[in-house]
């Protein structure tokens, strides 16, 4: 089917706007894991854990990835927290250590550079302004030479004129053209050889592939939690929830393969998700008037039948 499923479309869109995601309501982690794995900003993940306590303790893999990304030499440091809820603290601590280390190294480098500079200043030759008592003897020589550049000998034209420089420039352009002829005059196979190839995989594609590999791995069973700790945090009162009159359909396992492998919400439970609101623009309170308020004087008003 050329059209991908709505689930896939929404997921892709969500991943693209992952920086807006700060609240996932009471959705279980396993349902949104492929999306949450794309989070790049540690503060955002902290916020998300604070807003949605049901994912606390399950975000270890994301934190580990962030630690791998941000902490140099993370293997040598203790990074496995005793309580899986404390991954963010581990990250914060390691990040602090890493930045302190970096600071110290910068300071050391600065000290070393300053020492070098000092050393160099001590050994430099100094030019002394010594035009003393020589003026009268040399002056005749200057006038005798006639040239503007040298004091003695060589009364001929100066070596560097504009023409020489210009010829050199022209020659340079010619050589460059010889070395790299225009694409239109080059045979196709040479063009293909010269074409640059991608040497490094873009970071985003690596991340996507990793996420893909993770989701292909051993899958966890979806176990509905007996009491999701959602009621006080999400703020949706139970009275506003619609009453479900019919039971949800039993899931059929022989659905399309793409549908079968995506994470499922536990059946028989209802979840609510908040809408992330972009902070820059407040929600419009009144619908904006698109029509001009006054009548246009150039347009004749329609006559109504009486």
């Amino acid at each position: 089917m050329p059209v991908s499923s709505l689930f896939h479309l929404a997921k892709t869109r969500l991943v693209r706007n992952i920086h807006l995601l700060e609240d996932i309501g009471d959705l279980p982690y396993a349902f949104l894991a492929p999306v949450l794995r794309q989070i790049q900003i540690p503060d955002q993940l902290v916020q998300l854990e604070a807003n949605c306590p049901q994912i606390q303790g399950e975000t270890g893999e994301i934190w580990l990835r962030l630690i791998k990304r941000d902490i140099p030499g993370w293997e040598t440091k203790a990074h496995q927290p005793r309580d899986p809820k404390n991954w963010s603290k581990v990250y914060k601590k390691l990040k602090k250590e890493a930045s302190a280390e970096e600071e110290a190294q910068q300071e050391a480098l600065r000290q070393k550079m300053q020492a070098l500079q000092k050393d160099r200043n001590g050994h430099q030759t100094t030019i002394i302004n010594a035009n003393l008592n020589l003026s009268s003897a040399r002056r005749s020589g200057w006038s005798f030479g006639g040239g503007t550049r040298s004091g003695w000998g060589d009364p001929a034209a100066p070596k560097k004129t504009g023409k020489v420089a210009f010829d050199k420039l022209k020659r340079g352009i010619y050589d460059a053209k010889r070395a790299r002829p225009a694409a239109s005059r080059t045979p196709a196979h040479i063009l293909n050889e010269n074409r640059r190839t991608v040497t490094q995989v873009p970071a985003r594609m690596v991340r996507m592939a990793e996420a893909e590999a993770l989701s292909q791995g051993p899958r966890r069973m979806l176990v509905p939690k007996p009491n999701a700790p959602s009621a006080p945090t999400t703020g949706t009162p139970a009275t506003r929830r619609p009453i479900i009159r019919q039971q949800p359909m039993p899931r059929v396992s022989d659905a399309a393969p793409e549908r079968a492998e995506r994470p499922r919400l536990p059946a028989g439970q209802q979840f609510s998700a908040p809408r992330p609101v972009p902070k820059s623009q407040p929600a419009p309170s009144a619908p904006s008037l698109k029509r001009r308020a006054g009548p246009n004087i150039l347009v004749e008003p329609k006559r109504r039948k009486v």
Binding site: P2, V3, L9, P248, A255, R275, P276
Partner: protein, 104 residues
């Protein structure tokens, strides 16, 4: 509310939890697995006799987007290069839940 039974009409009605009704083509609606099962002739659900399905977990805005997707899917069923469906980012989470429920 249409109470009298219509055997099979080309259109079915989807009702959101805040009361919006969407009349869409039966073929398009049946792209969604859950809707298809609900309107299955042999099932004997009330939906079959009324040609009307209430979706108490989906609100009007999301259901409108779902209907848009169903028509989009139907329109581009055979085409190769498909333009992306425009999804506002703030609807993504709710759409994910709705897509999971409706099996699309």
């Amino acid at each position: 509310m249409s109470v009298e039974s219509k055997p099979t009409s080309a259109y079915v009605t989807l009702v959101s939890n805040d009361g919006y009704e969407f009349k869409i083509l039966r073929d398009a609606a049946c792209i969604a697995g859950t809707i298809k099962k609900a309107f299955d002739q042999s099932s004997g659900f009330r939906e079959v006799s009324e040609n009307r399905m209430e979706l108490p977990t989906i609100n009007g805005v999301v259901l409108e987007k779902v209907c848009e997707y169903l028509y989009y899917n139907q329109k581009h069923a055979e085409s190769k290069d498909v333009p992306d469906l425009e999804i506002p980012p703030e609807l993504c989470l709710e759409l994910l839940i709705a897509a999971d429920y409706l099996d699309v």
